[in-house]
Symmetry: C2
Subunit: 230 residues, 2 copies
DNA sequence: GTCTATAACGAGATAGAC
DNA sequence: GTCTATCTCGTTATAGAC
């Protein structure tokens, strides 16, 4: 077997894998993750269902691949938005990351629903999704680290006693060089950011918030204040 | 037709309607809202599918009924939690409502997913869901109103120019007696609350937040600060 | 008037024989 | 890899029981 043949095979495999995922994403948008069916994907591609198993051993593995891709795409979007203002102050960088997340979510609503919406019945994400899922959070941690070094932040109120142990544990796990107050505030702000994005995307702001971009920018700015920025 | 006959009929109708919704909720938990099937509900109840149309004109109407029930159940839970501390200060009342929301969500994860999770493909909620969906928000508005009267709040920073018009409109729509800064902060905090709850419920806090009750209490308290309470 | 059952439609998924 | 027979689904028309 020549190396060109191997290369061509490898290339074909990559192309088919990409075609399968593209078609699966199309079905995700049309029917939702719960109804994602290997057979339907195969049919749309003119393949037979058993042929798909050469690329994805099970429906859950295809789902996992789509989830990792979605997290990576979101992470890349946030990183690009951040890189565009990398020289600015921490507050501006924080808001840029938030807007990167929102922009990606509005552009990819069904993939957003896949990773931050309702769990898919019968599916449990494996730990291999964790690195991709962590990218946005790592951006925030980096911003807070820089803000701490450059003294560009404000003091946070002390933690209640009942939370001190858990906050210490979280800080040790996530960012040992940041104070536990900051880490606890960051994790909360991280979840709250996705509350804002999810409400906009899933229709809860219908007839409540109309001019959503400035509303979001202001909310993201105040989230930043909550973690001690600005 | 005697009134007792009418009463018996009406009672039977209510009972069958409740049985249909109970079975539908069971399927919601097992398969997800996307796969909710009128035929399966009918089968489980020993009825024929066409008989269900006497009670719900379509599958979407059954979904709508489940959604309204879920919002009402959540609203009642929040109102009960609030009533238990009705004599306390606004901060305590705010946190109680937040904990009522979280408690209901943890007890009814599938119904929570139905109303705050991914949209059901092909389904669009009618405006008849709005009153039930508003109950928790109305509690928050009431608390902020009382805090304003009793001067139990702090000042909020001024709104950016780009948000002023929209904030005025939101205030006029939702709570004309509250300042637009407060209303904008409230709507953001409202969305952020569901970000916290959703992350816990949908597994995003897996290996990130372990001791979740004190974490949530602290986050809810800081949300209250964000709307000017405490 | 109120309800349930039968039967059917068109569309789609599925299992298994070949 | 293909074909077919048999399932599912939402929905409607119709007929008859109470």
């Amino acid at each position: 077997m020549s190396s060109t043949t191997q290369g061509a095979r490898a290339r074909a495999r990559i192309e088919v894998t990409a075609a399968i995922k593209d078609e699966a994403r199309r079905q995700l948008a049309a029917e939702g993750a719960a109804k994602l069916s290997l057979r339907a994907v195969a049919r749309a591609l003119g393949m037979v269902s058993s042929a798909l198993y050469r690329y994805f051993p099970s429906r859950d593995d295809l789902l996992t691949a789509l989830i990792i891709d979605a997290y990576d795409s979101l992470g890349e979007s946030a990183e690009t938005a951040h890189a565009a203002v990398a020289d600015a102050g921490p507050l501006r960088r924080w808001v840029a990351v938030c807007e990167g997340v929102r922009g990606w979510a509005l552009a990819h609503p069904h993939e957003y629903a896949l990773i931050y919406g309702s769990p898919v019945p019968g599916y449990s994400a494996p730990d291999t999704t964790i690195p991709a899922a962590s990218r946005v959070g790592l951006l925030f941690i980096g911003i807070l680290r820089d803000a701490r070094l450059s003294a560009g932040g404000t003091e946070l109120p002390p933690l209640p006693d009942e939370l001190r142990t858990e906050a210490d544990r979280m800080a040790a796990d996530l960012a040992p060089d940041l104070p536990p107050e900051t880490v606890a505030a960051l994790v909360a702000a991280w979840a709250q950011l996705y509350g804002l994005v999810g409400f906009e995307l899933f229709g809860q702001f219908h007839r409540v918030v109309e001019d959503r971009e400035p509303f979001f920018r202001h909310a993201a700015t105040r989230l930043a204040h909550g973690v001690g920025l600005g």
